[in-house]
C-alpha cells in the first residue's frame, strides 16, 4: 500500500476514531492498558455473545498511532467470531514483530506493516490489540470455570 494512503488512513482514524467512548454496561469485559514508554493509557471493553464480538469500545489518553490503531482494531474485529479474531490477532502481532503473516486477514490494519521499523512505536500500535488478547484470555478462563 502506498505510504501516503497509509498515512491518510491513519490520520483519518486519529481525527475521527470509530467506537470511541465507553458504555456503562456490565455485560462488557474491560481491560486497562498502559504503555510506559509513551503516554498511552487505554481502556478497552468488549461485548461477547454466542462466540461473536458484538461490540468493542475504547477510550483513554494516547498518542496518534495508538488511537488510530484502536479505531482500526474495532472496525476489524467487531462482528467476528472469536476463533477468527484469534487468527487476526496472531497475524497482526506477527506483522508487528516481523514474523510471517497473512495480510489478507488484516484488512485495514495492514497500514501498520512498517511499524516494526520503528521499535519505539510498536507498543503504541499494539496496545489496543494486547487489550483484546487479554480480554480473550479472560473469556476463555470464564468458560473453563
Amino acid at each position: 500500500m502506498d505510504n501516503n494512503l497509509k498515512r491518510s488512513i491513519i490520520l483519518e482514524h486519529y481525527q475521527h476514531p470509530h467506537h470511541r467512548g465507553l458504555v456503562d454496561d456490565k455485560s462488557y469485559i474491560k481491560a486497562n492498558m498502559n504503555n510506559e514508554s509513551c503516554i498511552d493509557e487505554l481502556n478497552v471493553m468488549v461485548k461477547e455473545e454466542d462466540g461473536i464480538l458484538k461490540d468493542i469500545r475504547f477510550d483513554g489518553e494516547a498518542c496518534a498511532l495508538c488511537i488510530s490503531s484502536a479505531s482500526i482494531m474495532t472496525d476489524t474485529l467487531i462482528g467476528k467470531k472469536i476463533e477468527d479474531v484469534e487468527k487476526i490477532l496472531t497475524n497482526f502481532l506477527n506483522m508487528a514483530t516481523e514474523k510471517p503473516y497473512d495480510e489478507k486477514l488484516l484488512e485495514e490494519a495492514i497500514v501498520y506493516n512498517d511499524v516494526s521499523k520503528s521499535p519505539n512505536r510498536e507498543k503504541c500500535v499494539l496496545l489496543s490489540w494486547w487489550a483484546i488478547e487479554k480480554i480473550l484470555n479472560e473469556l476463555k478462563d470464564k468458560k473453563h470455570k
Binding site: 498515512r7 491513519i10 490520520l11 486519529y14 481525527q15 467512548g21 465507553l22 456503562d24 503516554i39 493509557e41 477510550d59 489518553e61 498518542c63 496518534a64 498511532l65 520503528s118 519505539n120 512505536r121
Partner: protein, 233 residues
C-alpha cells in the same frame, strides 16, 4: 499572588496555602480546595480584587486531569472577558483560566461547580480531545525538542473552534511575533515533506488542524531527527 511549588502534605498546611492564595475571596478558597480534592494541584490564583489585576487560577495539567481541565476551557463561553491558556516549560505543564469581571465570586463558584461535575461525568466531551491533543504536543515539544508550548483560546476563538499556538525554545520567548503568525498548512506541509519544524513559530488554527499538526509532529519526531532552528525564522 502566591505560587505553590511544594507538595501540600497535610490539612493544616494545605488550608494555609489556599487561604493565602485566595486573598480575600472565600469562594476562590473553596474553589482551590475543590481542585485539590479532585486531584488537580492549584499552583497560583488571584481574586482580581486589586485594580488592573485579572482574576485567575493556574493549575497543574497532567494526563489524569485532562477531562476536568477540558471543561474548564469550555467555560470561556460562559465567563465574560475570559481566556484559557496552556503553557509548558521544562518543569511543568500548566492550565490557566483568567477573566476580568466585577463579579469574580460568582464565576469562582461556577468554576467550582463545573469541576465537581466533571469528576462525576464519565463520558468525555470534545474539550477532552482538544486537551489531549495539546497535552501530547506539549509532551513531544518538551521531551523531543526541548522547547515550550503556549496554547490560548477565548470566547470568540472557541466559538469558532479555533486557538492560537506558539512553540519556542527558552531563549526565543521574545521572538514570538503574534502579529505575524505562520500559516498552519505551510507548517504541516514542511513537517510532512521536509521533516522539519522551525522554531519559534506561532499559528492560529482550528482544533482539527491542531490534531493534524500533532499527527505530523509525532510522525516527524519519531521517524526522523527534527531540524530545529534557533535563529528565529
Amino acid at each position: 499572588m502566591f505560587r505553590v511549588k511544594a507538595i501540600l502534605k497535610d490539612e493544616k498546611q494545605r488550608a494555609r496555602y489556599f487561604h493565602e492564595m485566595a486573598g480575600d475571596s472565600r469562594t476562590l478558597e473553596l474553589l482551590l480546595n475543590t481542585c485539590y480534592r479532585i486531584g488537580i494541584t492549584p499552583l497560583s490564583a488571584n481574586d482580581g480584587s486589586k485594580e488592573g489585576m485579572l482574576s485567575n487560577i493556574v493549575l497543574e495539567l497532567n494526563k489524569k486531569n485532562l477531562n476536568s481541565i477540558g471543561v474548564l476551557m469550555d467555560l470561556v463561553e460562559e465567563i465574560p472577558n475570559s481566556e484559557f491558556n496552556i503553557k509548558s516549560n521544562s518543569d511543568e505543564i500548566t492550565a490557566e483560566l483568567s477573566f476580568s469581571t466585577k463579579d469574580s465570586e460568582q464565576f469562582f463558584t461556577l468554576i467550582k461547580d463545573t469541576l465537581e461535575a466533571s469528576v462525576i461525568e464519565k463520558n468525555h466531551g470534545y474539550s477532552y480531545t482538544v486537551m489531549s491533543t495539546v497535552y501530547n504536543i506539549a509532551k513531544i515539544v518538551k521531551e523531543a525538542l526541548e522547547a515550550n508550548v503556549s496554547f490560548a483560546t477565548n470566547e470568540k476563538l472557541y466559538d469558532l473552534g479555533k486557538c492560537g499556538v506558539s512553540l519556542y525554545k527558552d531563549n526565543q520567548a521574545d521572538k514570538v511575533d503574534t502579529k505575524n503568525p505562520d500559516d498552519i498548512y505551510e507548517i504541516i506541509e514542511k513537517l510532512k515533506t521536509k521533516f522539519a519544524l522551525h522554531l519559534p513559530t506561532i499559528f492560529f488554527c482550528s482544533f482539527e488542524e491542531l490534531r493534524t499538526f500533532y499527527f505530523e509532529l509525532d510522525e516527524t519526531v519519531y521517524s526522523k531527527d527534527i531540524d530545529g532552528d534557533n535563529n528565529g525564522q
